[in-house]
Symmetry: D2
Subunit: 361 residues, 4 copies
């Protein structure tokens, strides 16, 4: 339950930050999809630590091994197991965290829920858990590319008070990958980089907003009641560490409009299909894709791990002081981009397969 | 798939706006819960149309009938079927909608997905679908009350540009129910009522923001990876009609803070358990409840149905004009309150049961 | 959980023997399937009590009402709710069962599991629960007929010590429906009818064996590991009341053969596809259909309800005597045929849709 | 889907016979269960090849590695990943099988379903897939032992025409493990061993029947409608390779009795709880455990792999001759015992947890 995601394209992740390995099993992937370990590795490399000085310096190659489910370069239709060994697990660095609860981390809630916790590097609550998601999503994304032509682009749109100016209609992954911040507005990107480095020097951390656009989505993906496409995207993205908010289309700003201006008027499209003159719906109406680009935003809080001293309590319930010693990201957003894109890919691949099971008569 | 929700406390809804009935089956409700049809009816009455002039004048008693699962005033542990007959289904009023797609409704996406749609009153996409949710949630809520003392309060916090001032620590359901707008700030509530009536007169509609607080939540509810409590709340609430955004705790505003100010310092609590000095986490850390109040916000767009003339296309792909004739709400927020509380209750009841299946050694 | 079945073609049943109604919600049925209430009714009529003097004389019309999911004679792709009112619920006839446990019934286990039970006519454990299954399966069966040409025939093959001689390659539903016993061997059928009537006169009851054949199954249905087609059939059929055993293909008798004689040699088929010279596999190899007819057998125990006096205990744990007063079937097999065919249809429809979600590249 | 099993105690297996590894993820295991890699290994050793000359001589240590979910000797409540490397994968030995379909194997159905298959050693259809099941079940079994005292014993009761005489009330695992055949009747065991060796010499193979008894089962496990305990056991056991039949309690033989003799009369038990004078129900009534021992039988067909020459067709649809060259078991039953016990443990652990989520008021 706790580590399963998806209905037809289904994944189960495992692994703790300082255990032997992290990974994922993908079940329900259609057979005969051409995919290589290298393609999976390429996605993992985007979330790997140590890519620039903006992110944590933990030294991990994060090399994926395919244990099952591929044969002669293709998926077999059976479960695909992907494993990444944890290399740099200097567990001793976390001994001072064994008996206290870091503020705004999951230490206390893990202890309260399970009565036991692996305190080393956050254990299961570490962002290393997302390795399994990204690896699985590499396959989902290839499936979407081959089967539908769907294109997913996410980028850092805000860091703290710095806003980027990005045209969501033309932005590409290449533009996003062009700067260590993964903000495709060069001027804002440089300002963000400076702010992040300053935060690190201050023993502080920053949050921000990730924006995404999904193009070429087939019409009709998503279920009309509970498993609405936007509801499933909301869950998927709010299941990422450090997220605090989700918007689709006009989002909270849309509440300031009235129906007359918010409604997306239909117009006859070039191919005879209806198109919308505006896209306040964010590409989803009644929970189903309408053919327009799917657009949304996700809020990430400032990283909880900071090197400044903080008040907290220990496992005996006594007040103590804490200063983080481990390596960490002063701003998670640059490395969150691939996680956001991955979760979107997992949701869309799943709904695309679900639609195939409806389109049968 | 499309109409199922929940893992252990599981519901399946059914029904179209102008079919014979709407309803729900609840499966997985523990036995020996005392609950009456009257208690379920009381919740349904909160979402019933025709309660005030602010909401749609469709005349529906929405009387619930219990078909199974209760015996001598208690749940039996087997599936509970609840049905509400559709009384006022003047389907002819919708004939003019048969061959066109209303802007920002689900008409086109239903057609695209299924190749068939019940156009009468929106069919399955009608907000009448939420009757099943509210009826099921009446049981979930009773279960939470008896089993945990959880208290759920939602209210209208913003309508268009009007903001209420509400103290989330003290607000009660009685205060919310005290005004037809379901805004517990009397001054703002009156302004909202005026704005809603003006919108109706203008053939326009308004959106807004619902805020919620959940008190007395047991520590440790929610799963640490995908089924995070905030992720499941996000999905649940974004599955309601007309929602465009979700926030937990500090939400999007939290991205403007830094880690030093955003982190919720732990302090020794009265009972020896850690408490947080602030609550930017919104009562959830790492996806699990931490004992503080769960707080969040949901954005609702302006109602798509407006009586002003709009541009759209018909099923032949030709441009046409549309002016709505049916009864409708110029602002869904007052009736959305019970829907929001219901979805929260369904999520919490489910996670409470899931926790019982972990707490066994 | 307790009342849900299926992965993509998914049903949830509800209802007690003497509550207001029994029924089902079908979720995941593809849109645009032509189906009428009359077609569903025709299947229900096969399991209706009072069809002949061999079965219970409870007087129930078992008239189905469609509450949702059909529009202008077609499925809409959204959830289909079907309800049958309980007409003849003379609950008083069961007052003497309130405080004791009938042998080999579910009275004691319901009480032990739930701490509460609806004793009237067996409550949820009544065979009336299967009404929902049969109604839902009428839709599944139509889907299979339209989509695949699958043909399902089950029949009474043994009653107590009487064995029928039936050629499974040519037997048809018409032949089965030709005798009140639903045994298509006329001579054996008459003997069975006599034995059943004698058992009733003796205050006793009989069990027997149902055999089934499924023709025209597409190759490759079923999943290779847990959700093997035969495993899912086993679960489906063993979930019917009174079942004690299940066999696929050669079954228990196959254990008396050796590999040389048991193996089904492949031969080149007329269409170039491999065929098997024998069918000890029962049409399923490695959990997946191989194109040959699927064949199997199900054991049904003698009906637990008998009018002879029996020893039992009451709810106070004291030894008491019991003599059944209600109406009942001295042999469930004739009415079990449609239940067996229904469960097979539900499993096959589900796996057919699951296969559609794999066949996408 | 294809490789997932269980509702709350949930497993996902992976791995092909000649890929890098096989294994499993266990999700939903309660925290704080004491379990070591050694305890898991001890169960795996029971299914390991090469234990005696009765079974395949493939040389595999089948050493388990725990990748996640255990911390300081206890489960953490998060997903547990277990991996076993495939050591002796001499894939070249299978080259001659690449282009043909072995009779009564899954070669053809895999090809038909997926359009691709890993032919090396049966790929995913190899019995090595059950390693993941047995490893996961070692944890389930420990959970049952600690939480309930449930005791599961299975044994070889028949091989071909040789029947053992075993008292199911007193048989123990020690008695079963006392002979390489895993038949606890020494005389029959020796005859079985001779028959199996003779079959190997003859290039032939044998099937047989496994019997099981489960003692100390809490009353009330199992769900009353679809997820009946016997239905879930049927599915679990019929999902094992080579199974052809399943019986609970009186099974097919019970159809030869009448209601008067088949019904299990209740008598006042020592502790005031009802007991049954006989156990034709096999410990399950209405799908729920009644406190008596759960008893059943499973039919295993003769091994499909035999060294005698057989007729078959190749992938071009031409008739060819096949003689197996690989190592194989002439009779799977001795190694099937731990698989049977494992599947039973998985089902019971799951239902025990499900019951905990009902017993809350």
């Amino acid at each position: 339950m706790s580590s399963n995601f998806g209905t037809l394209f289904r994944i189960a992740t495992f692994g703790e930050s300082h255990g032997p390995a992290v990974g994922v099993i993908v079940d329900g992937c259609p057979p005969r999809l051409e995919i290589s370990a290298e393609e999976i590795q390429a996605e993992l490399d985007k979330r790997r630590p140590g890519q620039s000085r903006l992110v944590t310096q933990r030294d991990e190659a994060d090399q994926v091994e395919v244990l099952s489910g591929l044969f002669e370069g293709q998926t077999t239709g059976t479960s695909i197991a992907l494993v990444v060994r944890n290399a740099d697990h200097n567990s001793g660095a976390y001994d001072h965290l064994k008996d206290l609860y870091r503020p705004s981390h999951a230490d206390y809630t893990y202890e309260a829920k399970f009565g036991i916790r692996d305190h080393r590097g956050g254990g299961r609550s570490s962002a290393r858990e997302t390795i399994g998601r990204v690896a699985a999503a590499a396959i989902a994304r290839k499936l979407l590319t081959v089967g539908t032509g769907v294109e997913i682009v996410a980028w850092v749109d805000e860091v703290h008070t710095i806003n980027a100016s990005v045209d969501s209609e033309v932005v590409t992954s290449e533009m996003v990958e062009g700067h260590p911040t993964r903000c495709p507005d060069p001027e804002a990107a440089d300002a963000m980089a400076s702010a992040i480095e300053q935060a690190r020097r201050d023993g502080d951390s920053l949050g921000g907003v990730v924006k995404f656009v999904v193009r070429n989505v087939p019409v009709g993906l998503g279920e009309p009641v509970f498993d609405k496409l936007d509801a499933d995207l909301a869950k998927a993205l709010m299941s990422l560490p450090a997220t605090k908010g989700f918007e689709i289309g006009s989002g909270f700003a849309g509440t300031q409009m009235t129906g007359l201006s918010h409604n997306d008027a239909f117009t006859p499209g070039a191919d005879g299909k209806p198109e919308t003159a505006t896209n306040n719906s964010g590409g989803i109406q009644g929970g189903m894709s309408n053919g327009a680009a799917i657009t949304g935003r996700i809020a990430f809080k400032p990283t909880a791990t900071i090197s400044s001293e903080q008040d907290t309590v220990n496992t005996d319930g006594k007040a103590v002081k804490l200063a983080a010693k481990g390596r960490h990201d002063p701003c998670v957003l640059p490395r969150a981009i691939i996680m956001v894109e991955s979760m979107i890919a997992l949701v869309l691949a799943d709904h695309w397969l679900r639609q195939k099971a409806l389109d049968v008569l």
